[in-house]
């Protein structure tokens, strides 16, 4: 038996013996999470395959995958701003442009 699975089974048995109910064991790519409650108390345990600090902010996303090319003739745009930022890089901050993106116009 996988050592972690045995550990989960043993902890589950210990929790039940200690009077905890509603035992929930959830395994996903982030590891295995066990939680249970007893009256007004609770216990939670996490087995992590990869120790990572939890960041305060989580984000993600992507551009739409496009199968066909759009017939784009004209787009609303702010002309001349890139020249202004090159002349005055502080403007980028005022415009809320991420620093990592600036290398594409400098």
């Amino acid at each position: 038996m996988d050592k972690d699975q045995k550990l989960v089974n043993d902890i589950s048995a210990l929790l039940r013996d200690a009077g905890y109910t509603g035992l929930n064991v959830h395994t996903d790519q982030n590891g295995t999470l066990l939680n249970a409650t007893r009256e007004r108390g609770g216990v939670v345990l996490r087995l992590a395959p990869d120790m990572q600090k939890v960041s305060r902010r989580t984000e993600g996303g992507a551009a739409e995958a496009r199968a066909e090319r759009l017939d784009v003739h004209q787009v609303p745009a702010m002309e001349g701003v890139d020249q202004q930022i090159r002349a005055n890089p502080e403007l980028a901050k005022a415009m809320g442009i991420p620093t990592a993106h600036l290398k594409y116009i400098m």
Partner: protein, 229 residues
């Protein structure tokens, strides 16, 4: 009546509170706009400007209800209205995944809303924002098109153990979000499907034309100016 609008952005370009000042003239004028060198954008708006207040079109009771219903089905709740904001491509969070997809200062419309997820007792609750970026353009026949360009979510909370599963669930939900929004877009352009335009530009807020000063929020509303071909 033509209008010269001067927009002073206090919290950044097309972001947050701004002060507008409109000067109205009986004489017509060609469309021009000055680059926002010092956080001030001056737009000379001709007589023939057609204005589309995107906030008014998108933040409807029907759309808010649809989003709220989808979020409830996903175990979350809607905690804001639907906001619309003009944003340059270079400021879009997924820009670095494909920088050449647009020109850096092409403007996209960011439609976003806030959500809340109640988590199990051992995690902090989650509060975040889902954004759908719309690409607006004229085709070679000078007709207006609006399409979903991409999606982004961000949230805080979920510590110590619930942020990962919530992130996975949001990533899984994004294709459905894109599909729902894409289905709404034909309504935005159906009334003007056969109209030809020569120019298209973004304005912050509702695009007010009345003379005088006003204060609005560029993070919650944006408008499109369209000039007939």
């Amino acid at each position: 009546m033509s209008v010269t609008s001067t927009y002073s952005f206090i919290q950044g370009f097309f972001n947050g509170v701004f002060v507008g000042q409109n000067a109205v003239s009986a004489a017509d004028q060609p469309f021009t706009e000055s680059p926002p060198g010092s956080g001030i954008l001056v737009v000379h708006r001709p007589n023939g400007e057609n204005l589309v207040d995107l906030g008014k079109v998108i933040n409807t009771n029907a759309n808010v209800g649809m989003v709220a219903k989808q979020l409830i089905a996903a175990g979350a709740s809607l905690t804001s209205g639907l906001r619309v904001q003009g944003t340059p491509w270079i400021s879009v969070p997924y820009f670095s995944q494909s920088p050449a997809a647009h020109k850096p200062f092409d403007m996209l419309a960011k439609v976003n809303f806030d959500f809340h997820i109640e988590t199990p007792w051992f995690c902090s609750d989650i509060d975040g924002t889902i954004s759908v970026f719309l690409f607006v353009f004229l085709d070679s026949q000078k007709h207006l098109h609006v399409t979903v360009d991409g999606t982004w979510f961000s949230f805080e909370g979920g510590a110590p153990f619930c942020a990962g599963p919530a992130s996975d669930a949001l990533k899984a939900a994004m294709p459905a979000v894109r599909k729902e929004v894409q289905a709404l877009l034909p309504q935005l352009t159906s009334a003007i499907a056969n109209v030809k335009f020569s120019n298209i530009y973004f304005l912050p807020g509702d695009g007010k034309k009345a003379a005088g000063a006003f204060v609005q929020n560029a993070s919650s509303d944006a408008s499109l100016g369209l000039l007939l071909a």
